[in-house]
């Protein structure tokens, strides 16, 4: 019991430092390689793409080398381009999706308060090599997602794992390409 308490208290300060470092970033771009282990498929799906973040509310995925899909988030709008169709969805109308998006966005923004609003957050490691375990609070999201694990080094995200309730899981490895900081 004592050990857990101590762990938690050191974790709090480590998380604070990581969040502070992340919040200094204004723009970042990472190449990613993702493997999805889904029961529906005979073998894992492997794909590559680019993830861009712009402080504080914009996020974009660009999948594949020939643009198989494009997903953009600006504030509370989700814009998807796939199957030759563009759709705009209000994240506010789908709380589960909003919560899911915040696992990436609030982390990238270094917004601990918002992250805790949507997830039960456990932190481990040190600033040089850290790990976040996120357990969703939203009831609808919990029907699908068991937990999300994000690993990083200082102000860079390196790995995102999504573990689903039905056993499906995916792992996204990130390779930072460009990073810009807020002035001052």
């Amino acid at each position: 019991m004592l050990a857990i308490t101590m762990h938690a208290s050191t974790a709090g300060s480590g998380l604070g430092d990581v969040m502070k470092a992340l919040s200094a970033i204004r723009f970042s771009e990472s190449k990613y390689t993702e493997e999805k282990h889904y029961e529906m498929m005979d073998f894992p799906m492997i794909q590559q793409g680019v993830l861009r973040y712009e402080s504080p509310e914009s996020l974009a995925w660009e999948r594949g080398d020939n643009g198989q899909g494009h997903y953009e988030i600006h504030e509370n709008q989700l814009i998807t381009r796939r199957h030759d169709k563009v759709e705009t969805i209000s994240l506010e109308s789908m709380p589960a999706l909003r919560a899911f998006i915040e696992s990436f966005r609030a982390t990238l923004a270094g917004n601990e308060r918002r992250l805790r609003q949507y997830y039960v957050v456990s932190f481990s490691g040190v600033v040089e090599s850290w790990k976040l375990q996120l357990q969703p609070r939203d009831r609808t999201m919990r029907r699908f997602i068991d937990q999300i694990i994000i690993q990083g080094e200082k102000d860079q995200l390196r790995l995102i794992e999504i573990h689903e309730i039905n056993g499906d899981w995916s792992r996204m490895k990130l390779e930072p390409v460009r990073q810009e900081y807020h002035a001052g």
């Binding site: 999805k36 529906m40 498929m41 005979d42 899909g69 506010e92 709380p95 899911f100």
Partner: protein, 775 residues
């Protein structure tokens, strides 16, 4: 002689036993506006009016929560909606959460292959299936795949998602924040509630409103949040309570004034009671008569009818003023009856004209006033004389000052006054069309309430539609077939930019015929299975993943088509009820058109579509036409009544010059009364028309009495009666004119100015002792 008196008492006693029975045991008072407003003269109008006053639009409450941060408002909106859903008073509580309830989602899912407009012969071809499967593979690669892949095994063609998206795009809906509806500025969380009770059932609506307020208070947990409510039921409740309060206040004030005034004038409690007797008896008889003929009495009829019947006080006043010292009431009644009778008859003609219109409310008012006045006059004629009056009553007050009035202004003054009146009338007549056909002007509601409603509707993205299509059919299926046939025309019109979109029941649920056709296109199990295998070649999906899909298509082949009534209980019910309505033995469909840019092109295009019984309706124009129809009808009836009145006067007086002496001032007075609203910047509506009838009725009484060929003391008595009558009428209607309810104000203003003009003009035109000459 005493025997005859007791016979009179007995007859009236029996009559009032019947009246009391009808009034207290069999009369219900209604307060819904639909019972007061016209029923419509033709089928189109009936459809429209029923649509306006019944149906879901009349049951829907719009609400907004405001006064806190968006986060708090969103949380309270969820709790508030949850609490309202727990109550059994509401069919639906919408606040943006779960726009489709689970039962409806299940229905759409199960029937997806019959409902989806994309299902045709090619939908299950190898090629389409392969394309669909590739799209699903694409979806699996999406960052959102965790949420999207659940349905892939049972719905690889995404038929269900397409249905949901199509339903969602039918109406734009409000903005969202934290999963609930918000205004654009995020200052108001928005809700929409449909009550189980009909919109016309005001008592049930009041209970629903109480629940809303109670649950809101619980949900806000002491936070400083305000609830803004609007919508047709609230309007109805507000109108009712406002009319109730106002008419109670006014009748109390009027009664108090009359008691004091009459008490002061006649200086005897007994005589005071006598002045009230014909009015009281008349009102009771009027209520009994209306409830007997119309099954119920409308609250507005009661309130306005009693106002219109106030003239009945004049009858005993005339009698009491004409009593000579030392004689009973009988002699006085005998003396004035010929004059009074003509006054009553002519007034009855006016109300008869009113009672013959198809405007339910006006007809009730007409019958009410007719029955009431008739009974009041009969009481004055028969019951009053039978009551023993104390002899040697003191001279009524005012009698001594009346003498000063018994002078005639010089010819020059009379002539110039006449010219002024004619000039005013000519000026007003030149103003052109001064009729208002806007039905909203008849409403007792404050304009701020309507503005608030307009704002809320705009935030809900549910602006009040102005243009719509209507068509009727023998059955729901035929209606849906017609609506489906209409779609290509409407889609073309949208493409041309004539309108931005439309809502039709066929977009939500296709006809049974169409569903059967789709069913016939569904492939056999083995065929589909083979095609699927072929489509799956080179794709990474696990074998046997799509068993649920194969089973679903197989099951769809045996389903009974989904029908409109199956969806009624769910979240689509509210929308369907606004689009399809059974009326008489027909089913009527409404297509709501949004943002019609070019009505004339639309109309042309639709007439080319050649669908039987299709009506393109401009709601504003149509409702105005309805009011217009009734106004023209009322004027027509009044003109006939005027002809009858003239004939009755000429026949009754047997003296054309005296007839003109009576008529001319009243025609001028009615003209002046009609001019007052116009000169003060109003437009005339139906209630002004009713008031003008009253002015004519009261004015004719005055003119008839003024023109009586009396001499000396008798003239003074007549003059006394007229001063008392007109003073009381003026004060009572001046009270009405000060009311905040537009309708009461209109009546008050018109009658006050009319009665004043009638009195002055009749006085000027009246002949004095042995004076000759018309002017």
């Amino acid at each position: 002689m005493p025997d005859k008196r007791y016979l009179v008492f007995l007859a009236w006693g029996l009559f009032f036993i019947l009246v009391f029975y009808q009034v207290f045991a069999r009369t219900s008072i209604r307060s819904d506006m639909s019972a007061f407003l016209p029923a419509g003269v033709n089928k189109e109008q009936r459809l429209l009016l029923q649509g306006l006053h019944q149906g879901p639009a009349s049951r829907i409450w719009l609400m907004a929560l405001e006064g806190e941060t968006p986060e708090v408002l969103a949380a309270v909106s969820k709790d508030f909606a949850f609490r309202l859903r727990e109550s059994d008073q509401f069919l639906q509580v919408l606040n943006g959460e779960e726009l489709l309830d689970q039962a409806t989602r299940d229905q759409l899912f199960e029937w997806r292959y019959l409902l989806s407009p994309r299902v045709d012969e090619a939908y299950f071809s190898v090629q389409s299936l392969k394309k669909a499967l590739q799209d699903r593979l694409d979806d699996l690669g999406s960052p959102l795949s965790s949420f999207e892949k659940e349905l892939i095994p049972s719905d690889p063609t995404a038929a269900f998602i397409d249905l949901i998206l199509a339903l969602g795009s039918l109406d734009r809906g409000p903005e969202y924040f934290n999963g609930v509806w918000f205004s654009e500025d995020r200052k108001q969380a928005l809700l929409l509630v449909d009550t189980r009770a009909e919109g016309m059932d005001l008592d049930a609506q009041q209970r629903a409103y109480d629940t809303i307020l109670r649950q809101f208070n619980k949900a806000r947990e002491g936070a400083a949040i305000r609830l803004v409510a609007s919508g047709a039921p609230l309007f109805a409740l507000e109108s009712r309570s406002k009319i109730r309060q106002e008419s109670q206040r006014l009748s109390l004030m009027a009664t108090l004034f009359m008691l004091l005034f009459m008490g002061w004038v006649y200086r005897s409690p007994r005589r005071l009671l006598l002045t009230a007797l014909p009015l009281a008896g008349g009102i009771l008889a009027a209520i009994a008569c209306v409830s007997f003929l119309f099954d119920s009495v409308h609250g507005i009829t009661l309130a306005f009818g009693i106002t219109l019947m106030g003239v009945a006080v004049d009858y005993p006043v005339h009698v009491l003023s004409h009593v000579h010292r030392g004689e009973g009431l009988r002699q006085a009644v005998d003396r004035i009856w010929p004059t009074l009778r003509l006054g009553v008859l002519t007034t009855l003609m006016g109300y008869a004209a009113m009672s013959m219109t198809k405007f339910t409310g006006l007809a009730q008012l007409g019958v009410f006033s007719m029955a009431g006045l008739l009974v009041a006059a009969l009481i004055t004629r028969t019951l009053l004389p039978a009551i023993r009056d104390t002899r040697d009553q003191p001279q009524p007050y005012l009698m001594s000052v009346i003498g000063y009035l018994d002078v005639r202004p010089p010819l020059l003054v009379r002539l110039s006054l006449l010219l002024v009146v004619i000039a005013v009338l000519a000026f007003v007549a030149r103003q052109g069309d001064s009729w208002s056909d806007d039905i909203a002007e008849l409403s007792p509601l404050a304009p701020e309430l309507r503005d608030q409603d307009r704002q809320l509707r705009a935030q809900m993205q549910a602006p009040e539609p102005r243009y719509l299509l209507m068509l009727s059919a023998e059955s729901t299926n035929e209606l849906l077939l017609d609506l489906e046939a209409l779609e290509s025309t409407l889609d073309r019109a949208v493409g041309m930019g004539y309108l931005s979109g439309y809502q039709s029941a066929a977009k939500i649920i296709p006809s049974v015929t169409t569903q059967r056709q789709r069913q016939a296109m569904l492939p056999e199990a083995e065929v589909l299975s083979q095609r699927l295998d072929e489509a799956l070649l080179e794709l990474p999906f696990r074998h046997a993943l799509f068993e649920p899909f194969l089973a679903a298509v197989e099951q769809a082949k045996t389903l009974d088509p989904l029908e409109l009534k199956d969806l009624e209980q769910g979240s689509l019910g509210i929308r369907l009820a606004g689009l399809v309505r059974p009326i008489d033995d027909h089913v009527v469909g409404v297509v709501q058109l949004s943002q019609v840019e070019d009505p004339s092109q639309m109309e042309k295009m639709l007439s080319e579509a050649d669908i039987q019984g299709l009506m393109f309706i401009d709601l504003k124009r149509a409702t105005n036409q309805i009011v217009d129809t009734f106004r023209l009808e009322a004027i027509d009836r009044i003109l006939w009544a005027s002809v009858l009145i003239v004939l009755i006067l000429m026949f009754g007086l047997r003296d054309p010059v005296r007839g003109l002496r009576v008529l001319l001032p009243i025609i001028l007075a009615v003209g002046l009364a009609a001019s007052v609203p116009i000169l003060t910047g109003h437009r005339l509506n139906l209630f002004h028309l009713v008031s003008l009838l009253l002015v004519a009725g009261i004015g004719l009484d005055y003119a008839l009495f003024f023109s009586r060929p009396d001499n000396g003391k008798e003239r003074l008595r007549t003059l006394h009666a007229l001063v008392v009558c007109s003073t009381s009428t003026l004060v009572v209607f001046a009270m009405l004119a000060a009311s905040s309810i537009p309708v009461l104000q209109a009546i008050g203003m018109t009658v006050t100015s009319g009665v004043l003009s009638a009195f002055i003009l009749s006085w000027i035109f009246a002949r004095r002792n042995n004076q000759a000459g018309f002017l």
